[in-house]
């Protein structure tokens, strides 16, 4: 159907996207209580701008940092700050200072944000970057790097291509798919905003070819509208369905055939990658002046009663979200924040959805895989998208020989989990890689 591009290596895990594929995005009713961690991004933690007992309005900035790399935090519902305390975080190992806001029925506050449209074509790059910064937009693909910094690369790096990441290669997740289908025009407008900020005129939208409806819709809209800046080329690139197709390095390799050198970043090869959800957040920030207070996520998995694509307020505890989706089928389950390949399993359902959350997956307890000795079948070596030898890295990590792990490229590993997924001996390769990285960082 489409000629699709790809990279070397990779795996084909069962997609399981059918559970939520054709479900429209449903708005979850506003929660009574939200927990907003002051650190939801890569960079410095925010200082709270409010104190216990304060009334806050939806969209009001409640956390900020003076540090260069950081991103502001906003109240996602109107209500009263009931406490500012250490609270479990869905991604970070330690408890993080969080602002807890509770909605009180007597508060007569209208839940509306400013929806006056701004004509972004009249704004210059710096003004738009400020709007993005004010809105607290971060990369929503996973790393949550502040977007206003990513879009202002150092002057000596020449950027010539923007890549919009709509690959969505993680099994189960359909949140980007749903967003691209429902907000196609907005995403294309957001793309043009980024092109203007970067001052370039070439963009690619990479979408795995298991989403033909989105590919066709994007292509037909692109054909009809005149894009700004003139002249510019925006191409939809169908990608082969393969995990991890949406990893930044693999995506750039597939679309531009450029290989990011070990330890370097996309702008070293002249490219900037933005996730579709980030592009939509940029659109909302620049045109509507709306801060990043809600997120489209997929709630799915074989242990959830009603899998859905939902729009939730950041800070909503995942217990409430699971309740909204019919609850769990069993008492015992594995709750994963993110996709099943790279997501984090949670030890409590009190943790909130944060900016970078793409989905909540509930899985039934699986057949226990007993670890056998490595029989050196070499499958992990064949499929490693980074061309590493995961078998040796795991061996050396197990024996605490971290320097050898480094020589075998453990620091290049992005922990995509393709090796551990395919290992016939059931070795916890990613676990050992994380251990080796931690030990190397401490040295």
């Amino acid at each position: 159907m489409f000629r699709s591009k790809t990279f070397h290596g990779g795996i084909h895990p069962p997609e399981n996207k059918h559970l939520t594929r054709n479900k429209p995005i449903e708005n979850m009713p506003l929660p009574q209580k939200v927990i907003i961690p002051l650190l939801q991004h890569t960079g410095a933690i925010c200082e709270p701008l409010v104190k216990t007992g304060d009334m806050v309005l939806q969209g009001q900035k409640i956390g900020e940092s003076k540090a260069n790399v950081s991103s502001s935090i906003h109240a996602t519902i109107s209500g009263t700050v009931t406490s500012i305390e250490l609270y479990p975080h869905p991604i970070l190992p330690n408890n993080i200072m969080s602002i807890i806001i509770e909605k009180k029925t007597e508060d007569a506050i209208t839940d509306r944000v400013n929806i006056e449209k701004t004509d972004w074509k009249k704004l210059n790059a710096q003004e738009m970057l400020n709007k993005i910064k004010e809105a607290g937009v971060v990369g929503l693909g996973g790393a949550a790097f502040p977007t206003h910094i990513k879009l202002a690369p150092p002057a000596d790096k020449k950027i010539d291509a923007l890549i919009i990441n709509g690959a969505e290669c993680e099994p189960f997740l359909t949140n980007d798919h749903a967003l691209m289908l429902e907000k196609t025009n907005e995403i294309i407008e957001g793309l043009q905003i980024i092109l203007k900020i970067l001052g370039i005129n070439k963009a690619f939208i990479g979408i795995e070819s298991n989403k033909p409806d989105v590919i066709t819709k994007m292509q037909s809209i692109l054909e009809l509208c005149t894009l700004y800046p003139v002249p510019c080329t925006v191409k939809v690139v169908p990608l082969k369905v393969k995990y991890p197709q949406g990893a930044e390095k693999q995506l750039i390799k597939a679309i531009l055939n450029r290989e990011i050198p070990s330890g370097k970043l996309p702008f070293d090869v002249g490219a900037i990658v933005q996730n579709v959800a980030t592009v939509f957040a940029i659109y909302e920030a620049v045109i509507l002046g709306k801060p990043l207070i809600e997120k489209v996520i997929t709630v799915s998995g074989d242990a959830i009663k009603e899998p859905k694509n939902i729009r939730v307020r950041i800070g909503t505890p995942i217990s409430k979200i699971i309740e909204f989706c019919g609850g769990l089928k069993d008492k015992t389950a594995k709750i994963i924040m993110g996709g099943p390949m790279m997501g984090m399993s949670q030890y409590t359902l009190d943790v909130p959805v944060i900016k970078g959350t793409s989905g909540i997956i509930a899985l039934k307890p699986q057949k226990e895989h007993i670890e056998d000795p490595c029989i050196k079948c070499g499958r992990c070596v064949d499929i490693c998208p980074m061309g590493l030898m995961p078998n040796h890295i795991a061996d050396y990590a197990e024996k605490d020989m971290f320097e050898l792990c480094k020589e075998y490229g453990v620091l290049d590993c992005m922990e995509c989990g393709a090796c551990a997924y395919s290992c016939a001996s059931g070795r916890p390769i990613v676990h050992l890689v994380k251990y080796a990285k931690l030990k190397l960082a401490k040295k």
Partner: protein, 315 residues
């Protein structure tokens, strides 16, 4: 909501496959040849195969329990494979006690002393055969004519096709179809190429073996035989090349894991086999070539690494 949550490192999904499954398929792939060997050489084949398998399994279970102290050591098909493969490279007239000693050597010395499954350097079946050959050279090189009947009959000694060529004997060289169907003198499981290739096809379909080792092995043998003025087709279908290339050189534990490593390994096996056959003292070289490359395997593994993403290939 009271729920019990399971916590572990990512990834949270797993390919439903384990080493038991992989080994089970190897056993299935070997079964057609087991039947072929019984048909070709009579019931004595079955007794040799059973002796080898039983001795291997007992040795493995006992050593796992008392020596390696592997509490969770589950019974797996690995010693069964070793037993069948060892039986396949023994002559049909091998005394059962010799087969039993060979099996013990294969599991105890070659595998368990090195740490058990996954840690052995040499292919257990081949190393055991080499030791038997050095210990009882006469018994290990006595071949019989195939009897081709399920009932079995008395054995008539004969020379193997490669020996006919090597020693320039007067006996007639068998035809290609005889070589392919296995109605020639030889070790139990090496003669019938038809069933071996059926087994190899099963392994390919299940993606258990990779094409690189067997095809470079066979290709290099064909090429060098041609260069030495020997008939390439005859070389490939006589002796143990098909058995060795598809079932022994591809033994995962003793071969390199990277794709380049596999190519080097296969080429090495092929080259040494052809050299031994042409210039060496033995008519056949498959066993020693694979053992020799097994020695080199860790070295190949160290230097023939895959091309790392974002790094230039080192010269």
């Amino acid at each position: 909501m009271e729920s019990k949550l399971i916590v572990s490192a990512s990834p949270h999904i797993k390919l439903d496959e384990n080493t038991q499954g992989v080994m089970g398929w190897v056993v299935i792939a070997l079964i057609p040849t087991v039947f072929a060997s019984i048909y070709l050489f009579g019931m004595r084949s079955l007794w040799i195969i059973l002796t080898c398998v039983i001795t291997c399994v007992i040795t493995e279970v006992v050593t796992n329990k008392f020596m390696l102290n592997k509490k969770a050591a589950k019974p797996n098909a690995s010693p069964t494979i070793t037993g069948i493969l060892l039986a396949f490279c023994l002559p049909p007239t091998t005394p059962l006690w010799m087969a039993a000693i060979g099996s013990f050597i294969a599991i105890f010395i070659v595998k368990q002393l090195f740490g058990g499954l996954g840690y052995n350097i040499f292919n257990p079946a081949l190393a055991a055969r080499a030791i038997l050959l050095a210990s009882w050279p006469a018994a290990m090189t006595t071949w019989i004519k195939p009897v081709c009947s399920w009932a079995g009959s008395d054995a008539i000694t004969s020379a193997s096709p490669l020996a006919i060529v090597k020693m320039k004997l007067v006996e007639t060289i068998p035809s290609y179809s005889q070589l392919f169907m296995g109605t020639i003198p030889g070790s139990l499981g090496e003669t019938c190429k038809l069933t071996l290739l059926i087994g190899a096809a099963i392994l390919f379909l299940k993606k258990i073996i990779d094409w690189r080792i067997p095809f470079t092995f066979i290709g290099v043998v064909a090429l060098l035989s041609f260069a030495f003025g020997r008939d390439p087709l005859f070389e490939i279908f006589s002796g143990g090349i098909i058995l060795g290339a598809f079932f022994m050189a591809t033994d995962m534990v003793t071969a390199p894991t990277s794709t380049t490593g596999k190519l080097i390994f296969g080429c090495g096996c092929g080259a040494i086999t052809a050299l031994i056959r042409n210039f060496g003292g033995f008519p056949e070289g498959v066993c020693y070539s694979i053992l020799f490359m097994n020695c080199l395997s860790p070295l190949i593994e160290k230097y023939a690494r895959p091309k790392r993403f974002g790094l230039r290939r080192k010269a």
